[in-house]
């Protein structure tokens, strides 16, 4: 099918050219740089952190950052139990990234699978899925999540599972719409004529064409997942102490806002900057891969 192949080739070289436009968009570059930094920190936490994030020290409690009266042994100060804030921030990056990526992978896989199946088979299967999406969107996300946490108890693993199982809807909707248009294309008709089974069609031909949108949604959902984990840990319903999470650090720091502002400010900044960075990269990815997506 020269036409289809030609169109595919043209599209990918167009994409390559647009990718280099990245450097004309400073905010996307900043976002990508910041995100890379966070990922590197998360992976290399054990090498980068100056102290053990769990070690408590009663005489080092509530030390301010080094420019505000503290010392360079604890550059960003210590918390109410004498633990080094910089080290806890570094290990917190690991938790945020791990939870975020795991949740996105789980929810993305579920959502894409559901969307491809519904779009491909149409009819009742499609109707059923659309009603499930409506149902999922009718239930307020954060209330739903804390209700399920109320049943199973708060823990890191529960959090990943819950976020993964409740975040599938955006992928399903968009992928289904894509599949509806891909289904009618020549390459599908041709493959079918050559005897391809439903499964083979879905996995080898349709699925790859939906991945671009799935990646865009995934990047924006990653920010959402990280913020949600932080929010839940902030409320005490997410990652449990003493595991360092930016959200729980922010929550614990809330009691010391008047006296020891550094406990809450640094984790808060970390969450905010990471979320903004991921969103900037996600926006760039959307403009690159699928500008039609209105999210």
């Amino acid at each position: 099918m020269p036409g289809a192949a030609g169109a595919g080739l043209r599209a990918s070289s167009l994409r390559r050219r647009r990718a280099w436009g990245l450097f004309r968009r400073p905010q996307a570059v900043l976002g990508l740089a910041a995100l890379t930094l966070v990922i590197v920190i998360a992976i290399g936490a054990s090498f980068i952190a100056p102290h053990d994030p769990y070690v408590q020290s009663l005489d080092e409690r509530l030390r301010p950052p080094f420019w505000s009266g503290g010392n360079l042994a604890h550059p960003l100060g210590t918390d109410q139990l004498g633990r080094d804030i910089l080290s806890r921030l570094i290990y917190g990056a690991r938790i945020s990234m791990a939870v975020g990526l795991a949740a996105v992978l789980i929810s993305g896989s579920l959502g894409v699978a559901a969307g491809v199946t519904a779009g491909f088979y149409g009819g009742l299967v499609d109707e059923g899925l659309m009603r499930l999406v409506d149902l999922r969107l009718a239930l307020p996300f954060i209330l739903l999540v804390i209700a399920v946490i109320a049943v199973f108890g708060p823990s890191l693993l529960n959090l990943i599972v819950i976020l993964g199982l409740t975040g599938w809807a955006p992928y399903a909707r968009v992928v289904r719409a894509e599949v509806l248009s891909i289904r009618e294309r020549e390459l599908v008709t041709a493959a079918r004529a050559l005897g391809a089974s439903d499964g083979r069609l879905m996995i080898r031909h349709i699925l790859p064409n939906t991945l671009a949108s799935a990646i865009v949604i995934g990047s924006l959902e990653l920010a959402q997942m990280i913020v949600t984990e932080s929010a839940l840990s902030f409320l005490g319903l997410g990652v449990q102490p003493p595991t360092p999470s930016w959200g729980s650090m922010l929550g614990e720091g809330r009691d010391y806002l008047l006296t020891s502002w550094w406990l809450a400010t640094f984790p808060g900044l970390a969450i905010a900057l990471t979320a903004v960075a991921i969103n900037l990269v996600g926006d760039w990815l959307r403009d690159l891969l699928d500008p039609r997506l209105q999210l």
Partner: protein, 305 residues
């Protein structure tokens, strides 16, 4: 038009039924709903007795029918902690949440509408660039961080506004700004793209070619036609923040439904948790239904489909 309303109504009722089913199943997710309601040191015999008393030993289908019957009567269970009907407790706190959400939307609209219009009328200008950047950041920043930063600045450092609680009108300002930031950013972007789409339509070019002043074109043609997607998104956003006030209410100790749900989770008061989820979903579905009807009224092409 009537078939349109009827179809939407049927879909809404089906959806509400599914919501009820989900809320019912929430309690049974762990396998034994009774264990959610008893203190950790309860004996097996106490649990068995309670199970029989509350009817949890009956078949699941029977329990569900009973649940639906009770919901239809307005009985969403009894709060374990307050020993009062859960629905009543939720409705009591509803006014606080509605007050907060409405204030947030008003603030969001007051900023988003002018900035969206300016951005669309002068795309690529400095104003547009600034607005776009602020919108991107506003949509990404976590609300609880913004809330805490606002508290540090305006309450702790400047002492201009109270840090928490619901009291005089001033106490509404910080929480409303915190909650309204995300809708503000989103609506500004949606309005901008909707306006840009309409501005390129043929009938706008015709109007300008006819010699109409820009302001008349704007008011008579552009704003009305770009209103539809914006109103829809605004309505959906309102519904979303109504259910999403948990974080903001927690940061500012605002006595609304979100905070009620949170306290219920802390207190292992599961019937109350279920009731809040149900009411929030119910309200959201109701708002969606109203939006569907309004959309059908505003855009004749929809109802004739």
């Amino acid at each position: 038009m009537k078939t349109f309303i009827l179809r939407r109504l049927v879909m809404t009722v089906v959806l509400l039924f599914m919501v009820a089913l989900t809320v019912f199943l929430l309690g049974h997710l762990s396998g034994d709903p009774v264990r959610l309601m008893v203190p950790e040191d309860a004996t097996e015999r106490d649990i068995a007795n309670l199970r029989r008393e509350l009817g949890f030993d009956r078949p699941l289908a029977v329990q569900f029918v009973d649940f639906i019957a009770r919901v239809a009567r307005g009985d969403l269970g009894t709060s374990l902690r307050y020993r009062k009907p859960a629905l009543g407790l939720v409705l009591e706190r509803m006014s606080a949440t509605v007050e907060l959400s409405t204030a947030a939307m008003v603030i969001a609209l007051l900023v988003a509408i002018p900035s969206g219009i300016i951005s669309a009328l002068r795309p690529g200008s400095l104003a547009d660039t600034i607005t776009s950047h602020i919108s991107i950041i506003g949509q990404a920043l976590p609300p609880f961080w913004i809330g805490i930063m606002l508290i540090i600045l305006f309450a702790v450092q400047l002492h201009w506004l109270p840090a928490a609680g619901r009291g005089d009108p001033g106490s509404l300002v910080l929480p409303a700004i915190t909650l309204g930031l995300w809708p503000m950013a989103r609506l500004a972007r949606v309005l901008r793209s909707s306006l840009l789409d309409v501005l390129h339509e043929d009938y706008v070019r015709t109007a300008k070619a006819k010699g109409l002043a820009e302001r008349d074109v704007l008011l008579g043609h552009v704003l009305r036609n770009s209103a539809i997607p914006v109103v829809t998104v605004a309505g959906l956003t309102y519904g979303t923040i109504l259910g999403g006030t948990v974080i903001t209410e927690s940061v500012f100790a605002w006595p609304g439904v979100g905070r009620l749900a949170l306290e219920a989770v802390y207190n292992r008061d599961f019937p109350l948790v279920q009731a809040t989820v149900f009411v929030a979903a119910f309200v959201f579905v109701g708002i969606n239904f109203a939006l569907d009807l309004m959309y059908g009224w505003l855009d004749p092409r929809i109802r004739l489909r």
